[in-house]
Structures are given as structure tokens and as C-alpha cells.
Amino acid sequence: MVLGLGVLIAGAGITLAGCGSSSSGGGSSSGSGTRGGTYRVEATDFGFSNNFDPTGEYTTASWGIYRGLLVRTLVGYRMTGGVAGNQLMPDLAANLPTPTDNNQTWTFTLKSGVRFAPPVNRAITSRDIAYAFERIATPSLAAQYGFYYGNILGWDAYASGKAKTIAGITTPNDHTITFRLTSPTPDFLYRLSLPATGPIPKEVAKCFPNAGGYGRDLISSGPYMILGSAQLKITSCATVRPLSGFDPSTKLLLVRNPNYSPSTDTASMRTALPNAFSFVINTNQTDIFNRIRAGLVDDSMSAPPASIVASIAANASQKHLIRTGAADATSYISMNLTQAPFDDIYVRKAVNLIMDKTGLQQAAGGPLFGAIATHIVPNTMYNNDSSITGYDPYATPNSAGNLAAAAAQMKLSKYDPTHNGTCEVAACKNVFSVTGNTTQDINEVPVIQSALAKIGITLNVRELPPSAMIATVSSVAKNVPLALSQGWSKDYADPSTFMTLFESSSISPTGNINTSLVGLTPSLASQLQISIPKGVSIASIDARAQACSATAAAGVRQACWIALDKNLMENVVPWVPYVSGNNVHLVSSAVTVWDYDQASATTAYSHVAVNPSKQAS
């Protein structure tokens, strides 16, 4: 959820993005932490997409808080950096089940002894999980990633009000829950790791029939809870007031949940060392990092600007305060397959070959902020498989572009009638392009412009505020030929969460995420009132993506996605991927243990520790 669409979701203030190094920083701090103290985080903006109601909240920053501190799900993660952080582990479930019926039936047994935080206090049962799914299926709650659960049997009947329960979710007793699906879904466990599926007590949540409301009174199932939970009166909905520790425009304060029992959890998932967490809004980005350096704050939800990172990295005694982790995100330029000159695959290949990726990386803050990307899905999501890590179909010296190779491709295209390696026809001049108006986006524009100019393509770039940029790029009728500085990040570690961007089913008139329009058919085009140029046939990866999605055996599945990634890069060429972003954090010297949560691409809040005596106040 990093750049591009992510900026929108994360709000104007948070530049979660960054893009970074693969080598430096990262990993956990040496030394073991001690219990106690408050871990103090500041952010320019929470950027919640659904007011912190887990049913609809679709920002990785919130997921990191839920997973580490407030919301336990059937399946979770170790919450560490790298490939290990993307491995699934049982959390509320006693163990990971083996599916039956061709990956269509999944039965879980819940751990016993897990209780809700005050004021609910009771044991968590399978009904509370089923209720969470009923909320996801309720249209008025606007569950933003409800599409991951649409193939549960009886889902639509419940959503339309025709059924009282979801037929495919059964809870024969308090500690058993069974999901029956209508199609094979080998990555269903991953979907159960998303926070919307965590248990929700009906006695509280029933008071919030509209999207976002429950976020103000979220009842924890994790090691911490929102301050004021103990004082909440839940005798009737009239007495349920917003919790005192949470105000979406200023703060989110968490304290220990007295009902949390570490014996129901594992230390590899949550060590829960600090006594409290504070997430406070400070709209002044520079001030946040000054306060971190002064020891007044310990961490930030937004990345430090390159100017601050540079001054700290130059100082050997402070260098360790910069921490990074791969964001499992790709920054890319999206080319529209229906718009000249990008309706010609040779032009798209030439664009890949001419692009100065090192320049773009530098514009983003240098290697610390992200590694050069050479294909669609970040390597971590392929478990750093050797068949893909060195793969670069458009390798150029120094990744700075290769004019000869690009010109050779351009000569093959219909837009170079004179075969001189540059495009001189009108279609290549003043090509309408859209980008954001954040500092980083604007920094990237001249790099792209000067690279493309070498093969005769000149751009008419619109630098738009983030929300207008998203709206323009995602509106099919606007026919944007080139979308610069786009970004995508995973929802979970399966490559399908990237490949969905190229499926024809993702094309929609507004809110379109398949901006390249891969798989667009003539009938779909006429439905959307756009046209496919004469003589252009648009490739489809629908069948291959479905085949990979249905493959269960882990190794075969991964090989299938890798082959599809390579096919996209070589035979479809919808993008110029250029940076695999890192999340960069600056922490205070009071932080004794810090780890990166790969699954949520943020600080592993469940594994941090502070030394209160080093904290300034």
C-alpha cells in the first residue's frame, strides 16, 4: 500500500513509501529488552481508510498495530523481517489445518483460554469469528477487502439479506469453526491472516451499524487494549461512548490488556515488553524526526526524508538508529496498452530498456530507500528463489538505460517508420502522463522525461494532488497513456495479490487497478466505452493466473507465479518496474529491541522494547 494507491490510502501526510536498500540496516537489534516503559510513536496523519474499524480498515500501518497489539486472528505471523516474516503461524488456531475437499473446506480448532479485553472479559469463541465474517459481508459496513471472502458458501445470500447466517461458516461448538468454499482456494490461510477476520464481540459491535463506527470502541483480543476500555459501559448501546484513549485526529493510546495470557501466545509472535504504546499525531514531519533524535519519541509511522537520513548515516555513532525492511512493494510506470505509442510492444520494451532506474532510485533517496526492481513481484514474496533473484530481462549497464538496445527495439515498432531508433511521429510527442505532486514524485519526473526523450518520446506531465492522481489514473475513460510513480504492495505474501493487477476482472470504470488494461477484450472495451486501436491485440493472462491461483503445492505454485511474472515482463510488458521499496525507520536511542514486521511492512510492535531511563520527556 505504498506509493500510488497507497498514498491515497495512507493519506497525504504519510509517506510510508520510501523505497530502499536491500542490504543495509534491517533485522532486529542485538541485546534483549526489558519489560516496561512506553513505546512512543508519532505520525503526521493516521490515514485510516475506515476509521480504525478492522472490518474495513485497509492500510498496512493499521494492520501492523492490530496484528502486534490488538487483534489476533486464526492465523498470524512471526512478525519479523525478511522471508521468515511472511511465514504463516497459528495464532488463535491451535494449529494450521489441512484443507479437505480440494482446498474448499477448512476446519479450525481454537486455543482455549483466550479472552476479550475489558469490559467484555469473556472467552473468545468461534461465534465471535463467524460474527466478524458476518460484518464483512454486511454491505453497510463497507468492508474494503471483502472480495477475498466472496467465495464462502452462502456469502451473497447473507449479504443481500436472504439468509440469517452465512451457510459456509459453521460453528458446531465454541472452539471449532469450519469454512466451506465454492472454489478451490489454496491461499485461504493467508486471507485468514487479515485483521478483518479477527474475533469481534457482538455485544459491542452491534451498536455500530455503519462503516467505521466500531473503530472508536474496538475490543482487543491481543496483549494491549485502547486506554479507557476498562471504563466502557456496555450495558446498552446508549452507554457505549468513544474510548478515551483514541481520537482519530490526535492520538491512539494503548495499555496492557489484563485478560491477555502469554501462555495462549508464543514469544516468537509477541514478546509484548513495553507497558504501553502511544501513537500521536504530529503534523510536523521535520519535528517528528527532531524529537526522535532528542529521545522524546521512539519511532515514526512515516519515513524520514533523505536529508535527515543522510545526516544521520554520516555519523557512525548514530547510524544504527536507521532501520529498514523491505516493503514488499514495487514502484512502477504503467503503460496503457490501448494508447499510442504504448499499444506497440516494441515501444514498451524500448521504454524498459531506456529507463534510468538508478536515477529513479536516487530520486527516491538512494539505495537505502529501495533496491532496483527488475520484475513485477518483490523477491521476498518468492522466498528469494534463485530462479528469479538475478532475473533482469531489460538489464542495462548500471541500470541506467541503454540507448543502443532501446533503439533496436524502437526500430521494430510501427512508430519508427524511418527505422532510426527514435520515434518521430506525432503519437510520441506530448504524451499525456499523470503523476502525484509529492516531492518524490516530482523528483522522478525529470529522470523519466530525460530518459524517454532519448528515444523520441516527450511527455505532457500532470502533477496532481494524490487523491486527484488516483482518481484520474483509475478512471478508464480518461485513457491515461502513461502513469508515472505508481506503487503497489502486497496484502499477503502470495504473488496473486500483485497478479490481480493484470486480470481482466480487475478492470472497472472507476477505481480501476488494472491501469495497463491487460486482458481487455473488444466486448469489455465497448462496455467501458473505450476503444482498442486497429490491429492491436491485447494479451490476456487470465487463464494462467487462474491456473497458478488454483495450484496448491507450494513449490509448484511459486514456480507458476515466477513463470507468469517473466511472461508479463517479456511478452506483455505492461510496466516499467523500477524500485522495490524499503520502509525506513529512524528510532530513538532508547529503543533497545526493534524488529521489522514483514507481513504488515511496518515496525514489529509486538517485538520492540525501550529503556525508559534513556527516554527524554
Binding site: 497525504a12 463497507a142 482519530p248 510536523n284 486527484a468
Partner: protein, 321 residues
């Protein structure tokens, strides 16, 4: 007089309606994007988009939306009165935040106004007393330099010099007076000066010109002829007459600045109305944009009305006509 005030009040209401209408047209009818997209997740399905539009009240046609907005404005909504709705970004009611942010803007503007009057009046008076003197010429040129200085550049230069290079003052941000008066003043001093230098220059020019006009009038000559000391002539007669028009100008400037400190607030990161409306406009947080526009328009209209009334009461020449 009361008929005049009534007519002006009616006109104010008309202006407010027109300005909200234009705001509505620009931000709702000619939208640069769909605000619902921001709250429909990164893979928005048509169903979720439709639901979010309903939640934000964007499902009606724009005319109905505008009428509903006016209705809520007059009758109040679930967040109380006036019904300004809730911010799309935070889901929180607009009204309490509006007052909170207005306080910060007022602290900036009023502090700045005091400062520019303190700088502008003496310079204007001294220049007028000795026109074409070295002081007069120097102050005219200096004034013109400040009138020509882009405020954002002045702000950045001050930050660079006093914060980044010398480290004498804290950087950007705001500390409430009730939390720590010293830090409050330290944080406000650069924004105040950034605002005040431009206006001090303008006001010094105006006061100088007014003083020169007044000093040429008959009653001043009479006062001098009576043998009053020059000092007394200046303070009791000339200054009073020259300052009256300035006070009315001050009221209008303060009104305009309530919505016009966007750039200073964004440079110094003061979370006042200006910063808020900028965020609202850029992020398509339509209720915020509308609420601030509304408040600012009302403030400008009311303060200019007050200025006119004050002028009528304070200036003897106007009163006797």
C-alpha cells in the same frame, strides 16, 4: 444607520450563499476526482464504492446535495449546530475542530497585527514629520522591499537563519500558550514577523500619507497657530485623524487574513484554518473546504461591516455629513 446595517447584513447572507455555491460548484461539480475512492480501499469494488458514496452523502445529485447542505447548516445535524458535517479524513465532526483551529489562526493574525501596528505606526509618523529626510527615504525603500518579498520566501529564510543555522529559535510547529507560554512565544515569533513585516510596510506608507494630508489641513494649522507644542499637535490631533482610516483597514485585513494565512501556516506548520483548508482542498475533504470557506467569508463580511460602522462613529468628518 440601522437600515444601512440591515441592508449590509442581508447582503452578507447573499455573499455567503454565493460563495458556498461557487465552492460547491468548483469542488463538487467539477471534481478532480471521486472523494469516495479514498475510503473504498486500494482495490475498490463497485459495491463498496457505492456504499462509501452513500455514507459520504455523495449519492444524491449535486443540487439536492447543496440544498441538504444548506438545510443542515441552518437546522444543525447529528453533530450539533451549525451542521457542518464531518471531515472525510478523520470522520470527526467539523465544528469543534473549526473553533480549535480558528484559535491558532487568530493567535497568528492578532499577534501579527499588534506587531505590524507597533512597527508601522511609529515609522509612518516619523516619516511624515520629516518628509524627504534620510529616515523617510530609507523607510520608504525598506518598506518597498518588504512589500515585494514573497512571504513564503521570507518565512523560509527566517527558518533557515534562526532555526537551521543559528539554532536560536525552535523550528516549525505550535505549542499552546496554556502548556508553556515561553515555548508558545518562541514558536510564534517567526510566523508573526513573517506576517507583520509585509503589513508594517504597507501601514507605514498609509499612515505617512494620511499624516501628510492631515498636517496640511486647516485645523492643524489653527492648532499650531494657537501655539500648541508640535508634539501635542501630532499626538492629539494629527495622529488621531490619520489612524481612524487605518483602524478600519485593520479590521478588513484581519478578516481577510483569517483565511489568508495558508502559506505562513503551511511553512511554519501551524494547524490553523489555512493549513486545514489547504489539506481539505488537496485531499478532497469537501466538508472541511466548505466549512472554512464559509467561516472566512462571514468573517470578512462582518469585519468590513464593523469597519464601516466604526468609521462612521470615529471620524468626525463622516459623522457631521
Amino acid at each position: 444607520m440601522s437600515r444601512y446595517i440591515l441592508r449590509r447584513l442581508l447582503w452578507t447572507i447573499a455573499v455567503v450563499l454565493l460563495v458556498t455555491l461557487v465552492t460547491f460548484v468548483i469542488f463538487y461539480v467539477l471534481p478532480s476526482g471521486d472523494p469516495a475512492l479514498r475510503f473504498a480501499g486500494k482495490q475498490p469494488t463497485p459495491q463498496v464504492l457505492a456504499q462509501v458514496r452513500r455514507d459520504l452523502g455523495l449519492n444524491h445529485n449535486v443540487v439536492i446535495q447543496y440544498l441538504l447542505y444548506l438545510k443542515r447548516l441552518v437546522l444543525g445535524d447529528s453533530h450539533g449546530w451549525p451542521g457542518l458535517g464531518f471531515s472525510y479524513s478523520t470522520g470527526a465532526a467539523i465544528t469543534p475542530q473549526l473553533w480549535q483551529r480558528a484559535q491558532i489562526t487568530l493567535q497568528l493574525v492578532l499577534g501579527g497585527a499588534v506587531l505590524w501596528m507597533l512597527i508601522g505606526i511609529p515609522i509612518g509618523v516619523i516619516s511624515a514629520m520629516k518628509p524627504r529626510s534620510l529616515f523617510d527615504r530609507a523607510s520608504l525603500v525598506t518598506g518597498l522591499v518588504f512589500i515585494s518579498t514573497p512571504v513564503f520566501w521570507l518565512g523560509l529564510m527566517l527558518l533557515w537563519l534562526f532555526w537551521s543555522t543559528l539554532g536560536w529559535l525552535p523550528g516549525t510547529g505550535f505549542v499552546a500558550f496554556t502548556n508553556n507560554p515561553v515555548q508558545w512565544a518562541q514558536h510564534m515569533i517567526m510566523p508573526w514577523f513573517t506576517l507583520a513585516l509585509l503589513f508594517a510596510a504597507i501601514y507605514a506608507r498609509i499612515i505617512r500619507a494620511n499624516m501628510l494630508d492631515t498636517l496640511g489641513e486647516d485645523y492643524i494649522r489653527t492648532a499650531r497657530a494657537k501655539g500648541l507644542r508640535e508634539r501635542r499637535v501630532i499626538t492629539h490631533h494629527a495622529l488621531r485623524a490619520s489612524i481612524v482610516p487605518v483602524i478600519t483597514l485593520l479590521a478588513i485585513d484581519i478578516g481577510t487574513l483569517i483565511g489568508g494565512t495558508v502559506i505562513i501556516e503551511s511553512i511554519f506548520n501551524l494547524q490553523g484554518l489555512g493549513n486545514w483548508v489547504l489539506e481539505g482542498a488537496l485531499n478532497q475533504d469537501l466538508p472541511v473546504t466548505l466549512a472554512v470557506t464559509l467561516i472566512v467569508t462571514i468573517a470578512v463580511s462582518m469585519l468590513s461591516l464593523l469597519a464601516d460602522i466604526a468609521y462612521a462613529y470615529l471620524d468626525p468628518r463622516v459623522r457631521f455629513k
